[in-house]
Structure formats: C-alpha cells, structure tokens
Amino acid sequence: MDTEDRRPAAIRVENLQKRFGEVEAVCGVDFEVRAGETFGFLGPNGAGKSTTINMLCTLLRPTGGRAVVAGYDVATQRDDVRREIGLVFQDMTLDTYLSAAQNLRFHGQLYGVPAARLETRMQQVLELVGLWDRRDKDVSTFSGGMKRRLEIARGLLHSPRVLFLDEPTVGLDPQTRASIWEYLNELRHQEDLTIFLTTHYMDEAENCDRIAIMDAGRIVALDTPQALKAAIGTDRIRLETDDGAAAAAAINRNFGLEATSAGGALVLQVPDGERFVPKLLADLGVPVRSVSVTRPTLDDVFMTYTGRTIRDAEAAPGSEIPAMFRGRR
C-alpha cells in the first residue's frame, strides 16, 4: 500500500541509552516502527525491553540518544507523547474498588475525552474486548484475563496513535493468552493503530509484523518473523522408512545430503522443505512410512542470534538489571 508507506514513522529511536549507575540496561538502540504496524520486542527478562518501553512512554528519562513517538520527543514533549499513547503495563493498574465503567470514565476524563464522546467511545472499546455487559460490575470481581482486557480497552479509550503493551499476557494461562491475542488481532483490524509490545513468549512474537530481538541491552536482530526464520535457513525433515540405511545412502547419492538417524528415523536439513518433500519421495526408491517437515521457530532464531535459548538467557546470573518501575515509586 503506497499511502501507508508515506506516513511518518510512529516511533523513531536513535542510539537510545539508559544506564542505572554502573549497569548499562540499554546500550544504544536504533529502530523505527512504521505507522499501523504491530512491532514486537522480544527477549529474555533483563534484556532491556521494559527499560526501553518505559523510556518510550516517558516514564524513564534516557541517559543518551533520542526517541520520537507519534511525532513528539519523549524527553522534551512528555505530555504530548502521553496524550498520543495508550499503555498496558505488566502489573495491573486498575482501581478494583470501582466498576469497569468508572475506571474507564476516570481515564477518559483525565485524558480529556469530550464528555459527549466518552460514553460512545466507552461502549466501543468495551465491546471490542467483550466486557460491555459487565461494565457496571466492580473490577474486584473480574478474572485476571478480564482485568487485562479491561486495561487494553482503557488504553484505547482516548484513541491513542500508539498502544504500548508491556508483556500483555504475562501471568495468564495459555487459554486466556490466546483469547487476549484474539482481541488484539481484532482491534488491529478495527482501529488504525500502531502496536508496540514486549514479550518473552516466542509464539506471541509470531503475531507481529516485525520483531526486534533484544539481548543484554542491544538489538541483535530486527525483521519480519518470516524473514528472521528464513535467515536461519533450513527446515528439518524427519523421515521414517522401512530401511533406514538404504534410504540414507539414497539421499546421499541422489541429493548430496547427509541424513542423520535419530530415534529410528532419518533427519535431514534443507532449505524450503515443503518443496523438497515431493522430489524426495519421487526419487528415494525406498518405501516411506511417514514424513514431517518442521519450520524453524523463533526459538531457533533467538538461539542463532544469542547462542542461548530464551530460558537459558533468563536463568543466567548477572544478566539482571534493577527491576525498574514495578509498582513502586
């Protein structure tokens, strides 16, 4: 779409840095988020994702570099930035004493949504997250997933240009996580909105248009999920045959590939496995019992760029930065 390309970037970050005393949490990152895209920040805990998002949301002052969000500088035009963004934090920030509608009304008034528009807008966002029927119920009666949906609705209430979601599904069970993503994908279609999110769930990163992988305060890779996976190259084909040794020899002879045997099956790595399988079956000459193709996952991508799985990276001591801005202060 030509028109979309000409819109100014929703977020532009140049050499952004943040240090806490001795610890360099974010060591000079650069990236751009296009208007209308869903941009994921992926990395283990302590990689600097939350610190970066907090700087973009004007909650932390950068110690170096520059960031422009929705056309405003996060260091010098904080109130302008704040008016243009919606925020959903890792930790709940609802008043559980109040009803869903009271929470939204408070937010709408603080952000200056005109009274005439507030009620219709409230209905829109509450319907979007499936909570319109429960608008007058106290938030204390809500489940974790409902609270999270209400926070997403609240983040959208003042029609922000960029919605920031910091670990939007952390602490939720897999089913609730899936339903949150259903709502998020729905709102991407309904609202003209740029979404910036952090996550350390690999499967959630697949929902993004583009992903930046962050490790130890640096961006180590940035592209579409498909391109990142493609860059790793190979698909894995697992093959069960009646005669493993004969099949391995045939593969070597006909395709020049080394197959390794693992658990009674043969495993080989090829680029574009789905197109390879028909040729393989046609030319192998050995009866095949089953075949499966595994595409590389973002887990593999993370592994390739950092040398660790995301779990290992989290377990590693010394990779932690101060748990900034979690409830306190």
């Binding site: 008043d95 937010h107 603080l110 005109p114 202060r329």
Partner: protein, 289 residues
C-alpha cells in the same frame, strides 16, 4: 506524485486546555474518585464514626462524673466535643492521604502518574477528596452537638465547619507526605501508631492545655495538630456562656514565649503547615529516573 505527508487519521482527541484550568479539572477528577471510593466503602464510613462516638459517649460520659474541668459547670463532654471533632477529622484525613500507599501498591497510582496531567493536580485532588470525606464524617458528629451541651447555633456550626475543612485539607496533605515516605502497606499502621497517635495526645484535644508541665506545654506548641484543635475549641467556647475563670482554663490562650498567638495566625499556621507538607509530598512524587 504528491509530496504531502498524510497524517495519521487521529480520532478526535480533544486537547484539554492547559494551565490552571486543566490542573483544576484534573484535581476535580481525582477528587471525584476519592469520593466514589468513600461512598462505596460502607465499613470505612462506619469505622470513621465509631471512634468519635466512643470518645464522646463512653469516655466522655464515664469521666464526666469524676473529672471537673476547671471552674464553672461545664460538662466534660462539652469540653471534649471540639477535641473529638478534631481527632475524628485527623484520623480520617490522615488515612485519606496515606491511601496513596494503597494506590501505589495496587498500581492505580501509575495510571494517574502516566496521564498527561501535572502531579500536583493529582495530589491536590487527593487532598480535596480527603478533606471533603473528613469534613462530611465530622458533620455527623456535629449533628450530635446537642447531646454534649453544645448549642446548634448556625454561626457556630458554620465556623466549626470552616475550621474543620481547613484542618482536613492540611492533615490530608500531611497524610500524603507520610504516604510518600512509607514503603508499603505493612508499614502504614506502625507509622500511624508512632506518629499520629502521639500527635493526637499532644494536641490538647482530650485535656485542657492550661497549667501543663513545661515539657508537655512545649510539645503541645510544636505539634502541628494543636493548630487544628485550638482554633476549633476557641470557636466553640466563644459561643458558650463561660465565666471568665472557666474561659481562662478551657479556652486556654496559645502563647509563643509569652506572646498570645492570635486566632487568625493559628489558622494561617494550620494552612501553612498543610502547604509545606503538600509541597514536599508533590516533590517526592514528581521524581523520575
């Protein structure tokens, strides 16, 4: 090819007016939330009334037969009345201010702090809300004035309400300041016990301040709450027919080094103390890394 940059089709985000009008507006919204929470919380409503009733009708009635407050025939409950009003307002207002610790612990403070409004408006809203809550609770006690030998004079009631409201504002600001320094909910009760309870006892809310030992008299004079209790008592006793001797004891003139502190100056002190507490609290909440 067109070179015009297409702006994002922004939904009609209304730009609230900036400056004082915007600050007041934000304060009003925060204040409204305080009131909503108060009205929803019946237990807090009731709890706010139990203590003053105990003071007045249990302690007051119990002691009125043995305590002879100065010369003249003044019921101990009458003497106690302004002190109990002040005490009630004090606890309600301090809690309203300290509630910012709950806001912080449960995350809602963050929702307010990230809004495009000044932090002083948030704090002003909390003060205003706390003051309205504390004054409203005191109105219930005011309604019982007759049972304590206090006349229902409209002028007296209005004057008392005025002083109560000013005191509530200042004390809520003080509560905010405490809240800014208290790290978590668990520390709130100990702080109330070690800071607020002594302030209540040292304010002369429960006994006449005439003829106190020097150390106690001094402690009373440096206690900010004294500047809330003393004006209230003064307002009340000027509306009662007291003998000069009784007035001297009951409506004891506050002095600084022998200089009688005028009523108006006491009120100014009360307001000033509140403003200082407010300013420090705002500064503490405005710190950003």
């Amino acid at each position: 090819m067109t070179t015009t940059v297409t702006p994002l089709p922004v939904a009609d985000v209304h730009r609230p007016p900036s400056g004082l009008a915007a600050d007041l507006r934000a304060a009003r919204i925060v204040c409204h939330r305080e009131l909503l929470r108060w009205l929803k919380d019946r237990r807090r409503l009731a709890a706010g009334l139990v203590q003053p009733l105990l003071w007045l009708f249990v302690l007051g009635s119990g002691l009125s037969r043995v305590v002879n407050v100065g010369p003249g025939n003044v019921d101990f409950r009458t003497f106690l009345f302004p002190g109990v009003l002040a005490t009630s307002v004090m606890f309600t207002a301090v809690f309203a201010g300290v509630s910012v610790v709950w806001d912080r612990e449960f995350g809602f403070l963050r929702e307010m702090l990230v809004a495009p409004i000044r932090r002083s408006s948030i704090m002003a809203g909390k003060c205003l809300g706390g003051a309205i809550v504390a004054t409203s609770q005191a109105v219930v006690i005011l309604a019982l004035a007759g049972l304590c030998g206090v006349p229902y004079s409209p002028v007296l009631m209005l004057e008392l309400l005025g002083v109560l409201f000013l005191a509530s504002l200042s004390i809520t600001a003080f509560g905010l300041l405490l809240g800014a320094r208290v790290a978590n909910i668990q520390s709130v009760m100990p702080v109330i016990q070690t800071v607020i309870t002594p302030m209540m006892f040292l304010s002369g809310a429960l006994y006449p301040t005439a003829g106190l030992p020097t150390w106690l008299a001094l402690a009373t004079k440096v206690n900010p709450v004294t500047y809330a209790v003393n004006p209230m008592r003064h307002v009340l006793f000027t509306h009662l027919d007291l003998t000069p001797a009784a007035a001297k004891v009951l409506d004891h003139q506050l002095t600084w080094g022998g200089w009688p502190v005028p009523f108006a100056l006491q009120l100014v002190m009360l307001a000033a103390l509140g403003l200082v507490a407010f300013a420090i609290a705002v500064r503490r909440f405005s710190k950003t890394d």
